[in-house]
């Protein structure tokens, strides 16, 4: 019998790390990811994982150490948040460009200034173009499961890209929920032994990582990297099929809730999807054909799946928990509009809501208000304002 343990999102992450038993973890603690680093250090100290734990002096060093370890040919993981991810910046691109299958738990938190420790997607969204695969989790159970799944994605021989597993700071990371665990042996079997392709420490077959690459070949290598991200989508779908068989779950790139006959829908990421699901149920009881679209894998962007989900809608709202400060709202909205514009004959009227910055709570009332506006748009076909803000004093 598999156990159900009371775990926070952070502890769900470190429990998955214990079962994966990576070779190297290099990390620097930062709120709200601190408890991942803290509890995993305890796991190692207690002899429950034989990981080489590298406590470093900064996140820049953490990611640099991860790059070195991963290039040497071992399974490597880390965890961070907010300013920590920001300090890793240049090395994030290096990890992806060198095609290193590093796995990172990113506990999404607002970026300074003003200083704030609470949950929003500013950090993760800012890293959306670094070449990392990004998975966004709704609750602690998903953090646990996607943490395990990410290993197979990163290390797939046709992918070989780093993976960021995101969860909402405090909302998920510091809330205790029941998490159904897999047996240690089953996880070990599912993730398998890591067999590196061209490890740096294979001295009989010497290779070079990260040499200078100018006008003659840089472009080709970048094209290959981008192509790997494009191709990864198909592989992730195959891996989901395998994971679903393993776990009994129904994971997909994009989750659709009551979308079969939906006329209006909210598209969101992470914990907000749960609250939205509750509101969809309430609206359905009143006969309103509402639905919810949850993007689980944000990078690679599931363009076809998002476009298909929006095909028959009369109105759509895209929720962004980060503002790009482009003057035109959030990053998710831009990508979703690209999908609809390129792939759908009928362009559904779509609006953007920026919400929840710095951990501002998003409750059922706010989500109901957004659905109410969608009801109006569906009726009239008229969009008043494309970019909106929910839950802010203006």
């Amino acid at each position: 019998m598999s156990k159900i343990l009371p775990l926070t999102g952070d502890h769900a992450a470190s429990e998955s790390m214990r079962q994966i038993n990576p070779d190297v973890v290099a990390a620097y603690p930062i709120t709200p990811a601190t408890e991942i680093v803290m509890s995993f250090s305890q796991i190692v100290a207690n002899g429950l994982a034989d990981t080489e734990m590298v406590p470093v002096e900064s996140e820049h060093s953490a990611m640099s150490a991860c790059v070195g370890a991963s290039a040497s040919g071992v399974r490597t993981m880390t965890a961070t948040s907010s300013q920590g991810l920001a300090l890793m910046w240049e090395v994030l691109y290096i990890a992806a460009g060198m095609r290193l299958p590093i796995i990172m738990h990113c506990v999404n938190r607002a970026l300074s200034a003003p200083i704030n420790i609470h949950g929003d997607h500013s950090d993760g969204m800012g890293a959306r173009d670094t070449g990392w695969i990004q998975i966004y989790c709704e609750n602690a159970q998903e953090v646990y499961e996607m943490g395990i799944f990410a290993v197979r994605v990163a290390e797939h021989k046709d992918i070989m890209l780093p993976v960021m597993v995101n969860q909402d700071g405090f909302i998920t990371s510091h809330a205790i929920e029941g998490v159904k665990m897999f047996e240690d042996a089953d996880v070990k079997k599912f993730v398998g032994e890591y067999v590196p392709n061209m490890p740096l420490l294979d001295v009989k077959n010497p290779v070079t990582f990260g040499p200078i690459d100018l006008q003659d070949y840089y472009f080709e290598h970048k094209f290959q990297q981008a192509q790997a991200m494009r191709d990864s989508k198909k592989r992730i779908v195959e891996l989901f099929a395998e994971f679903n068989k393993f776990s009994g779950k129904k994971y997909e790139l994009v989750e659709q809730y009551k979308m079969e006959d939906a006329e209006i829908a909210i598209l969101a990421l992470s914990s907000t999807c749960g609250t939205t699901r509750v509101v969809v149920n309430e609206l359905r009881e009143k006969g309103i054909k509402a639905g919810m679209i949850k993007i689980r894998v944000f990078r690679p962007f599931p363009m076809d799946e998002v476009a298909a989900a929006c095909k028959n809608l009369k109105a759509l709202a895209v929720l962004d928990r980060a503002d790009t400060c482009s003057g035109e709202g959030g990053a998710v909205f831009g990508d979703v509009c690209t999908a609809i514009y390129n792939l759908n004959e009928k362009k559904v009227p779509a609006i953007n809501y920026v919400y929840g910055l710095g951990g501002r709570d998003i409750d059922e009332a706010q989500i109901k208000n957004i659905f109410n506006e969608l009801v109006d748009i569906a009726k009239t076909g008229q969009v008043k304002t494309v970019l909106n803000y929910s839950g802010v004093r203006i």
């Binding site: 009371p6 909302i171 809330a175 029941g178 907000t272 699901r277 149920n281 309430e282 409750d363």
Partner: protein, 192 residues
């Protein structure tokens, strides 16, 4: 859909164990086969500052990930918080339960807070804790009173969970004291 979930809000001050109490309650319910959430409201964490902690318990999967604004039960661990604004009764409906750690009577608390509907329970949890454990930490005693007021978990389940969770931290005497405090609070909580 929502009313299948029992939502509880704890009011305490940093250091009084409101988070520990909330976690214990949720974990006990989890062991009894329920779905749970337990999350504190993190502000500037410091000893003595007012803080809230939330618990959701349900037979169904809990999808909500927002704060609790209409609690079924409010547990006030520190009576000095009865004068805070917004009041501890904020968002409590007609069926709501207000449980206060105080030596006053339920009628007096009802008057003081102008709390007309709903049920009021009082228990002198700090005194019980002091007598049974030697420490003025009323959180475990409050759980005994919550069980009396709601029956949401059983006292035996709570005792098991307390032993499991704090058994290594507390001496056998302290553990026995805490368990006595729970029982005494259960027995002496007054409804009004």
């Amino acid at each position: 859909m929502k009313k299948q979930i029992t939502e509880i809000r704890f009011h305490g001050r940093g250091g009084q164990g409101a988070k520990t109490a909330a976690d214990l309650l949720a974990q006990t319910a989890l062991e009894a086969g329920k779905h749970i959430q337990s999350f504190p409201e993190y502000g500037p964490e410091r000893a003595g500052a007012p803080m809230r902690s939330y618990v959701r318990i349900s037979d169904e999967v809990i999808d909500l990930h927002c704060g609790v604004s209409n609690p079924d039960i409010v547990a006030v661990i520190d009576p000095t918080l009865l004068s805070i604004n917004p009041p501890v009764t904020e968002g409590v409906g007609k069926e709501g339960i207000l449980l206060v750690n105080t030596n006053e009577k339920p009628e007096d608390i009802r008057k003081k807070l102008n709390f007309k509907d709903g049920t009021v329970y009082t228990v002198d949890a700090t005194k019980i804790a002091y007598e049974e454990t030697g420490l003025p930490l009323p959180n475990t005693a409050m759980l005994g009173a919550i069980i009396k007021a709601t029956g949401i978990i059983t006292i035996d389940h709570l005792k098991d969970q307390l032993t499991k969770k704090l058994g290594k931290k507390l001496s056998p005497e302290k553990m026995a004291g805490n368990i006595k405090a729970i029982t005494k609070a259960y027995d002496t909580a007054v409804k009004g």
